[in-house]
Symmetry: C2
DNA sequence: TTTCCTGGAAAAATCTATTTTCTGTTCTGA
DNA sequence: TCAGAACAGAAAATAGATTTTTCCAGGAAA
């Protein structure tokens, strides 16, 4: 009996959303969710309220909750913002980072590199998603600003949702592993400009991959 | 019968927090709040959960909710981040802004300038707080990025809380009205660098005023 | 014949009252 | 003085009651 029911429901629901188990704009019925997690509607409501404030879910008063929508325009906007924030974090982390930061980055990269990116069924493996998130967090951590990290986390989470939605198109057709390695090397070498350039390219590539997958999915559903 | 009970409770509680009716780190007892708003504990819990995700309230599992703490370090960090975001919005708004933007800025400034800053009892007047928020929002609006506006809003709200906490020290000892006028003039003249400079100074002045008031308050409570 | 409006039933969201569980404190006995 | 147990207060969860919305059928008008 670790956490409270609400906490558990929140975490499971959040994980499900990030894993793309629900379609964007899909209605989230409170009673169904309550049944599947075997908790009361009240607990579900509280979890949904928190997710609403995070932006993963949108609330429609008296009409329940829906999964937040996605769009190419939103993805581009999100990525622009991520490039701004991530590069700013990176600059400050490279300037401020101490040995503990270097150690954490090396450790996180080692784990990321050693974790298989996909499971047998073609999805991103949860372990890789976790290691990937931790790697980028470790890089940014030394920026020394709690607010910057908070905004960064917010944006990163939303990107993860897009990543999962577009996972089918991202199997092996780009060398993310190389980009991560180069990112680490530039950061440890304190080569700020190079690290920023790689980060910018990395985020741009991610956007392009997701965008292609999104358009393909949209075209498919339109043709159906 | 306008909105739902939860919505009403959320809005009232949020307004109370921003108005500084509760002290930082003060415990928010669910039953008390429920009694004062005459709604059930469940509705209060949901409102508090949303405020938690916004960062105005912190949750302590099984031990209820507290008002988020404040500190000089947090204020400095917050202001650094605000300067980054607000200037970025401003640059883009000046580059993109059309006639509708100019019109909205002029209108918002006129209202701000014509609204008394304080009420008789020395607090900021709610009307001024509203007009002030709307003015800064109008300036940033034309940046053309929903995510940027969202992050900006988040930071602005937290700053408003600090502003209210420090309101006693801000009576007449700086010329915020002049700063706002100059900001508008530079933006309308499309003088990007001047506008950015004024904005940076404006936010820095705000921080310094709040910081002085915070330290005075802390010293007072320590001496008591 | 098609489209639009109206009435009612069913489903879903929301709220309240109650029960259960947990935490922090105080009291008792060694 | 300290350890342990009982107690009080508060938070969290649940279940049921209430209100609101949505869906569908039937009928009237174009």
């Amino acid at each position: 009996m670790s956490a409270s029911a609400t906490q558990t429901a929140y975490e499971q629901l959040r994980a499900s959303l990030l894993a793309g188990l629900y379609q964007p704009e899909e209605k989230l019925k409170i009673s169904e969710l309550g049944a599947s997690f075997s908790v009361s509607p009240g607990a579900i409501r509280e979890a949904l309220a928190r997710l609403t404030a995070e932006g993963l879910v949108i609330a429609m008063p008296q009409r329940g909750f829906r999964v937040a929508p996605v769009s190419v325009a939103d993805l581009r906007d999100l990525t622009d913002m991520r490039i701004e924030i991530e590069t700013k974090c990176l600059r400050r982390a490279i300037a401020n980072g101490d040995l503990a930061w270097e150690t954490a980055v090396v450790a996180a990269h080692h784990r990321l590199a050693a974790t298989p990116i996909a499971t047998a069924d073609g999805r991103f493996s949860p372990a890789w998603m976790l290691a990937h998130g931790d790697f980028h967090t470790a890089l940014a951590q030394a920026c020394g600003s709690a607010w910057m990290m908070r905004v960064r986390d917010l944006l990163f989470v939303h990107n993860e949702r897009y990543l999962e939605l577009a996972r089918k198109a991202d199997r092996g057709n780009r060398d993310a592993a190389r980009e991560h390695r180069e990112l680490m090397e530039a950061a440890l070498a304190r080569d700020t400009e190079r690290a920023v350039t790689i980060m910018t390219v990395h985020l741009g590539n991610t956007r392009d991959t997701i965008e292609a997958a999104l358009l393909a999915t949209t075209a498919m559903s339109a043709a159906r």
